[in-house]
């Protein structure tokens, strides 16, 4: 390890990058999100004609050859390519240029809920059709979820802590939270952290169709993802990535970095209830939100915006609403809560990272993105969901919830930058 100052104990975000169904790059997707556009459309990445769900939020403007050499771009699993692009944009945005020696203290923690399912499916088919000798030597490295972190470290020479988190749809939030802990305790001076997912393939679609978790509104894709609306009928699967450059506050200040915001609370809990359903009293989500707020030391009325997990499933939206009321009490009705999944679908392991990014941009620009497709109120979902139209508001602190199959609950609280 290099000789370096004591950690300040504060962790800030100094660079951001994202690939989303509303576009590649923050400057592309953010205006479209504020305009309330939907990124949901009929599936093109595979022939979905035989599946009960035939719509998804695909990334339309992404070309792996823009981010990787031709050999790798041709064959690498999409989840890794999306992470490489997100990381490259974040590093460029941050202006962070560590010396060779300092790179020993820069780590990578980019999670994926599933990993290289497209590559796994293709190679499984090759083995079934041609026998074991037909399986690619790249099956294992391109399938394992930790390869996003591994690959980004190799491309950039970052030799600090290199790891991965896999907590289904809470992955992206856990990755940012765990990276915050790593920097806070001084094990790294900076981390490249976030989430990535590319689940729109035969096995991914088949699995989620079988779980009856997705919207079947195939004839009306723009209106399929409708969190908190009474006629919601499941989530819309999406893909993408969001990656942050996170740094020790004192070091970021010393190099004059632009600061998007600071991590001030990271709450976690487990439901210990069911593999896919949230606990019926929302106790797990309640405890994660409570823990994050306690760490932040904030009063409830200081949280100016909650980016909901808001998947558009019956149970999530009802029970997340309950969790917010459990913790905030009367203040819950005065706090704007929106689900940006209404526009970009559910990007699974990338979702928590994309939504943390949405929180930072909300604070930066003073505007809260809407929940689109909110038409018919549900008596069980009775908060202010910022329906259909973005709203100007000064926001100094945000909370973002993420929940994953397995009963993983995460809340991140971020404060505005300087």
């Amino acid at each position: 390890m290099s000789d370096r100052p004591q950690p300040s104990g504060r962790v800030v975000i100094t660079g951001v990058g994202a690939v989303t169904p509303l576009g590649t790059g923050v400057d592309v997707f953010w205006p479209r999100m504020l305009a309330g556009e939907s990124g949901v459309a009929p599936i093109t990445l595979l022939d979905a004609s035989e599946y009960t769900t035939r719509i998804a939020a695909e990334v339309k403007d992404f070309n792996p050859e823009d981010w990787l050499d031709r050999k790798e771009a041709r064959r690498i699993d999409r989840f890794i390519a999306l992470a490489v692009a997100g990381a490259a944009m974040a590093i460029e945005d941050s202006g962070f240029k560590p010396s060779e020696q300092e790179k020993d203290d820069v780590g990578v923690l980019i999670g994926s809920g599933i990993g290289g399912l497209t590559y796994l499916g293709e190679q499984h088919r090759r083995q079934i059709e041609g026998g074991p000798g037909k399986v690619s030597p790249f099956l294992v490295p391109y399938m394992i979820p930790d390869m996003a972190s591994g690959y980004v470290s190799i491309l950039n020479g970052f030799r600090g802590p290199n790891t991965c988190v896999v907590t289904a749809c809470a992955t992206g939030a856990n990755a940012i939270g765990d990276a915050y802990h790593i920097i806070k305790r001084g094990d790294a001076t900076a981390m490249i952290a976030g989430g990535t997912e590319a689940p729109i393939n035969e096995l991914g679609l088949g699995g989620f169709c079988a779980a009856r978790a997705m919207s079947n509104r195939n004839d009306d894709p723009d209106h399929a993802s409708r969190p908190f609306d009474k006629e919601r009928d499941g989530f819309v699967i999406g893909e993408g990535s969001a990656v942050f450059v996170m740094e020790d506050y004192a070091l970021a200040k010393a190099r004059g970095a632009k600061i998007y915001g600071e991590v001030v609370g990271y709450g976690m809990s487990g439901d210990a209830y069911h593999i896919t359903q949230p606990s019926p009293d929302a106790s797990g989500a309640t405890r994660a939100l409570k823990m994050a707020i306690r760490q932040s030391g904030l009063r409830h009325d200081q949280i100016g915006y909650i980016n909901a997990h808001g998947t558009s499933t019956y149970y999530n939206d009802k029970l997340e609403t309950l969790a917010i009321k459990n913790v905030l009490g009367e203040q819950a009705y005065k706090t704007p809560v929106s689900s940006t999944k209404s526009m970009i679908g559910h990007t699974l392991g990338a979702a928590g990272a994309i939504e943390a990014l949405v929180c930072l941009l909300t604070m930066r620009d003073g505007i809260i993105p809407p929940t689109i497709n909110y038409e018919i109120p549900d008596p069980e979902c009775d908060l202010d969901y910022v329906p259909n139209v973005a709203r100007k508001a000064r926001v100094d602190y945000t909370a973002s919830n993420s929940f994953g199959f397995g009963g993983h609950n995460v809340t991140l609280i971020l404060s505005r930058g300087e």
């Binding site: 050999k71 000798g133 037909k134 690619s136 490295p141």
Partner: protein, 80 residues
């Protein structure tokens, strides 16, 4: 015959290794000159198997170090 094989070996190599066609000369070594690592070589050999509908046993892969080696190995196999 072997001219046709060379062209097809070149095509597969360009595709698999992402190299320029003019680099794929008979004397070029896959690992030394064309940037292939050990995993790339396995993938490349599998692509030759598919392209030429042949089997290349693991203990014969070592014979294929250059583009020219691949052409003569495949010519021999295809003639057999």
């Amino acid at each position: 015959m072997s001219q046709g094989i060379l062209e097809r070996v070149k095509k597969v190599t360009v595709e698999e290794l992402g190299v320029k066609e003019e680099e794929v000369v008979e004397a070029a070594s896959f690992t030394e000159d064309l940037g292939a690592d050990s995993l790339d070589v396995v993938e490349l050999v599998m692509a030759f198997e598919d392209e030429f509908s042949i089997e290349i046993p693991d203990d014969e892969v070592g014979e294929i170090k250059t583009v020219g080696d691949a052409v003569s190995y495949i010519s021999k196999k295809s003639a057999a």
